[in-house]
Symmetry: C2
Amino acid sequence: MKQEKPSLDFERVLPHVSIDCVIFGFHENQLRVLLLHWKNSHTWSLPGGRVFRDESVQAAVYRILEERTGLREVFLQQFYTFGETDRLKNTDFQAIFADFGFDLEAGNVLFDRTVTVGYYALVEYSKVRPTPDFFTDECRWWDVQELPELIFDHKEIAEKALQTLRRQLSYQPVGLNLLPEKFTMPELQKLYETILDKELDRRNFHKRMLAYGILERLEERRSGGAHKSPYLYRFDLPKYQKALEEGWKGDW
Amino acid sequence: MKQEKPSLDFERVLPHVSIDCVIFGFHENQLRVLLLHWKNSHTWSLPGGRVFRDESVQAAVYRILEERTGLREVFLQQFYTFGETDRLKNTDFQAIFADFGFDLEAGNVLFDRTVTVGYYALVEYSKVRPTPDFFTDECRWWDVQELPELIFDHKEIAEKALQTLRRQLSYQPVGLNLLPEKFTMPELQKLYETILDKELDRRNFHKRMLAYGILERLEERRSGGAHKSPYLYRFDLPKYQKALEEGWKGDW
């Protein structure tokens, strides 16, 4: 899909504030991140953008996510705001924009210091339609373990998102939006293991997950396996939502 | 201490971005928050301020904290950035600044939409010298359970900080900076109970805390008690620091 040249309405944009999104998907036992490739360059970046003056930061994130993924309903978590003075240093924005046909003055507010609010999103891989924008020619999933070079501080932003997602496992359920509607216990365990980057004991995982009371076991089993077919589960949405809001009943 | 009228150097300030601090202290078994009282008003607010153009957001927080508390070494945690469009609505900033002797135009950038980055700080109560600024006549500790009316969205900011501090208990040690250097196990337990707003089992707490390996038991005991005097502890700083960085070895 060819994207039209945007109008760059500077008056509409809130200066000095931007958004960057780390969009996680889970596919073939890999945790993946959606990245954009800039035209005529070797540069990859996180999807992101500007906040309009009449738009909340959160509304801007949903807008940007929908533009890049086609999805509106996603799990979204703000995790950190990056405020270093030299975040965008060594970048000749004027030249880059000139390449794209924009004749901007050196003092343009787009080139000025920007504080960026980082969000991560958990999305169902199969439902995403990765969509580049006018400045980029590819929107591609990358294994979180093998990210390419990223512009600015985007590597740091992606790493901090992963670190926060790991922590989320200790006080919130994770899985909805990352897994398909129906899944097996081994699939759920694999997701946890992938996020944590370590193996978990099968028995303990199974027991603990059931104890949380957020899973509903279906009558169906996954067919086609060589061994005994595993049961299918789905999340009990009201209980899952409650656990998200209240946090796990932890050990304290 | 009388504060001089500030010069309000607008050129120096990064527009559209501000900082708000929720400063927690622990005293007489209360978790307390440091608030500022605005002159000639009934208004209380969180300590906060602006970021200079040549200053990182984090450096600005340390500067503001030192101005209000006299402390430089504190535990500091960014927890959320508040980006609603109507955060500052219904406030006649022009009139307020006029009251303080500043003749500012209605279009001044100080009155424009601001996204605020929320930090919480854990400080040792007895070491803080609460210091009001030019606009305020009192800087006072309030029990977190009994906060007064606060301007803007500051109540929401304070609540979100407390919620995040609670969560921190599930993946990080808490206590350093909030407790004096030497403390008893009941005092540490009381801190946890106050943050969580619920009672904990004495035996389990004791056992779990020792298992973490971040406490050093001293030969001294707290003197003067009616019953058997409890041992004094202090944090083993390198181990505490390691636990902060790596997170608790949780159940996963």
